[in-house]
């Protein structure tokens, strides 16, 4: 289990777009990848069955279908993401109590600021939350120059054409 989330910039942009689209309701979804690879490659936006500003829940039928598809392709949920629309991108108590995929990166997007979305990633295992850095991959081979040991959050501007992100100094 690696302690950094390496993910394509285009996938992050699509997640932010999904979160913006569903705002003010919470958005949720999965990024699947080959089992055991820790590489998130296939974005699957899901419906929030709760259709709520403060809660999200995978639609149970859609979830079974998506899970079977992943299983058939020998994939697993590498990233499970959801948005917070009025609070920071940090797991809530409910997020922690539900977290049932110990090998997944739990990615949170905050859309409370209409201009800039905040992205943070966590491991949630046995009720314990560990934040981890997000390393943006420009393509399959080129990585963004980011200190892999620092914990960052990314601020994404709304326009996908000119992504504005900054990495605040690690605390």
């Amino acid at each position: 289990m690696s302690d950094v989330l390496s993910i394509g910039r285009s996938i992050i942009e699509a997640i932010v777009e999904h979160a913006r689209r569903d705002h003010p309701d919470e958005a949720c979804g999965v990024v699947a990848g080959p089992a055991g690879s820790d590489r998130p490659t296939r974005l699957i936006p899901m419906q929030n069955a709760a259709r709520s500003m403060t809660f999200y829940e995978f639609d149970s039928k859609e979830y079974l279908r998506v899970w079977r598809e992943m299983d058939d392709r020998d994939e697993e949920p590498v990233v499970i993401y959801h948005s917070h629309t009025a609070t920071e991108a940090y797991p809530s108590r409910t997020d922690i109590s539900f977290a049932g995929w110990p090998q997944a990166h739990y990615l949170l997007v905050s859309t409370r600021d209409p201009q800039r979305a905040e992205i943070r990633s966590f491991r949630i295992v046995d009720g314990e939350v560990t934040e981890e850095p997000v390393r943006l991959l420009e393509s399959d081979s080129v990585e963004a120059t980011v200190d892999p040991h620092a914990v960052q959050s990314y601020m994404f501007g709304q326009s996908p054409a000119s992504v504005d992100y900054e990495c605040p100094a690690a605390s």
Partner: protein
């Protein structure tokens, strides 16, 4: 009566790492009791102390979520597949 049960990663510590186990029972409740005899602790991860299904899991019989079929009283037939997935939800 053989029923195939698909176990999510988080519960495989109860099944010796197995992804799929077999069990029997006329209802989901019977099946979970049967499984618990060979995979101790599994039932406790799925059923609350009050005897209801835990909200942290989704349990399906074939293509249907058992919440819409009668929960633990859901009837099972030979050849059914039961799939257990950790619920994905939060605030």
């Amino acid at each position: 009566m053989a029923i195939e049960v698909r176990i999510p990663t988080i519960l495989r510590s109860h099944t010796g790492g197995a992804k799929v186990v077999e069990g029997s029972g006329d209802t989901l409740n019977d099946l979970l009791t049967d499984l618990d005899a060979r995979h101790p602790g599994l039932r406790g991860r799925l059923v609350t102390a009050e005897g209801g299904l835990h909200r942290f899991v989704n349990v399906y019989v074939n293509d249907e979520d058992v919440r819409f079929l009668g929960a633990l009283d859901t009837k099972l037939n030979d050849g059914d597949t039961v799939t257990i997935l950790p619920a994905v939800a939060g605030g």
